[in-house]
């Protein structure tokens, strides 16, 4: 069953002539991990904002077609309603921590306070979330004292606590250092294993290659292609045509094939690369 379904979906921001999203047709299955890639300005961020209903309820503009998320028509539901079904994570750890709480725990609980969840239940869920993101010793610290990676984990937990079935992440590591990036991806991996539907917009192909089921390419406001992750991410021609640089492992294998040192298919992950290097060294 599709948990997210775009049907001829188009979106034009108020004051713009051309649509930022054009005729999107896409279904995402429950529990699936969908990667979204594309060059800057291809409409990826806007795409992410549709599912929580920021489009059309927060940003003014015109909708065409239909988007159904977890059985709700986005156009006819409020953002608050959708927020218990879709969690949306943004780039900047600084601006997405609301500051509504003076401690990590309170920041996590903020969404539940807004939903009117009873205190007992709140306590239970906060405890669970703090454990999930491994920040037990920071429970009572101000979220603004944390590192970027830790802040981003708090942000993820603060929407997960509302128990959405879908998690949409819009370049969650774009402003993080390598350590923070790997911390966040470790958490995403953990969540994927738990079976939550994940839609991840990122430029970090290396990470995407490891756990995405399918990958969608956006270019010039259109959905160019959706297919199995490996198929898309090793299609170097397709990637380059859409302004995306393939994974370093893919590039390495491409180079070795070109130089005649390796005969086989293109690599994608670290595991592939290891196998390839073993073969090359044996020769």
């Amino acid at each position: 069953m599709a948990i997210v379904k775009f049907k001829d979906f188009s979106w034009t921001y108020q004051g713009y002539k051309k649509p930022t999203l054009r005729n999107i047709n896409l279904s995402v299955k429950e529990g699936e991990f969908l990667g979204v890639i594309g060059r800057v300005g291809s409409g990826r961020s806007t795409f992410c904002m549709t599912m929580l209903g920021l489009i059309p309820h927060f940003f003014p503009g015109r909708i065409k077609g239909e988007l159904v998320v977890d059985g709700l028509s986005v156009e006819e539901s409020s953002i608050a309603e959708l927020s218990t079904r879709v969690g949306l994570i943004f780039q900047s750890p600084d601006t997405q921590l609301t500051g509504a709480g003076t401690t990590v725990e309170e920041e996590l609980a903020f969404g539940l306070e807004n939903l009117g969840v009873p205190q007992k239940e709140m306590n239970k869920r906060v405890k669970k979330m703090v454990k999930l993101i491994g920040l037990e010793s920071f429970r009572n610290r101000s979220p603004f004292e944390l590192s970027g990676g830790q802040q981003q984990k708090v942000a993820i937990a603060s929407v997960l606590i509302m128990q959405p079935r879908i998690l949409v992440l819009d370049e969650p590591t774009a402003q993080l250092d390598p350590l923070g990036t790997s911390q966040v991806f470790d958490l995403i991996k953990k969540l994927a294993k738990k079976g939550i539907t994940i839609i991840l917009n990122t430029q970090k192909i290396n990470y995407l290659a490891e756990f995405a089921d399918r990958v969608a390419i956006l270019n010039k406001n259109k959905l160019v292609k959706v297919d199995k992750a490996r198929k898309i991410l090793t299609d170097v021609k397709l990637l380059r045509r859409n302004g995306i640089i393939p994974s370093v492992y893919t590039q390495l294998s491409e180079q070795l094939i070109k130089e005649g040192l390796y005969k086989g298919s293109l690599c994608l992950t670290l595991g592939d690369a290891k196998k390839m290097i073993k073969k090359v060294v044996k020769k």
Binding site: Y13, Q14, G15, F58, G99
Partner: protein
């Protein structure tokens, strides 16, 4: 007939409350802490400058030009509530009414569409200076016997020594120190910034279109 009339009246009243409520969009609410932050930054820059340009209402006026009188009024008043909470200076709350007045007046001017040309902005700034001087005169007498513990007190003392009436002296001294800040910097810097704001951001604020 009479019944109908009263009904209409209550309806109109409800309309006002609904209208005020509708000004508090999420972006507008978020602007309040940011406005207070800008006021604080302005205050610090003022201290570094060492000129009678207070800069501590620029955030309030900026918010007035983006989100209207009610949001700016709340933001202005809360600036002082927060100062009171942070520095523990309870008298600051009384002076919140000055910020409230400035925010609401600047918002009202924006609402009326009186902030389109530069000379209108200048006149508006003068109006804001007069209002700020009037409210702060009353408050400063009420709370601190007319003094601020700063250079302005010398101006006040000078007017008194020249034989001016008490209220004239306090108002004149306050107006003198407000006019440069309010009629020039505090209105023009936010105004020019909003004029230059990219469309996609300006669209998120109801009042920005009344300025651009």
């Amino acid at each position: 007939m009479v019944k109908k009339k009263t009904k209409k009246k209550t309806k109109a009243k409800k309309g006002i409350i609904e209208r005020i409520k509708s000004e508090f969009t999420t972006v507008a609410i978020v602007m309040i802490p940011i406005a207070i932050g800008i006021n604080q930054a302005g205050r610090l820059i003022h201290q570094a400058l060492g000129l009678p340009i207070w800069l501590d209402t620029i955030g309030t006026i900026f918010t007035a030009m983006l989100c209207g009188p009610w949001v700016a009024g709340v933001g202005g008043f809360l600036t002082n509530v927060v100062t009171a909470l942070i520095y523990g200076r309870a008298t600051s709350v009384f002076f919140g009414t000055v910020q409230l007045g400035i925010g609401m007046l600047a918002g009202y001017f924006t609402y009326k569409g009186w902030f389109k040309k530069w000379w209108q902005v200048f006149l508006g700034g003068v109006g804001i200076a007069v209002t700020a001087a009037a409210i702060s005169s009353v408050i400063v007498v009420f709370v601190r016997g007319g003094v601020s513990g700063a250079g302005i007190d010398l101006v006040f003392g000078f007017f008194l020594a020249m034989g001016q009436n008490f209220w004239t002296s306090i108002f004149a001294s306050r107006f003198l120190v407000e006019i440069l800040d309010k009629a020039v910097i505090a209105v023009f810097v936010p105004w020019l910034s909003i004029k230059r704001l990219p469309d996609r951001y300006a669209r998120m604020f109801k009042y920005a279109s009344k300025i651009r």
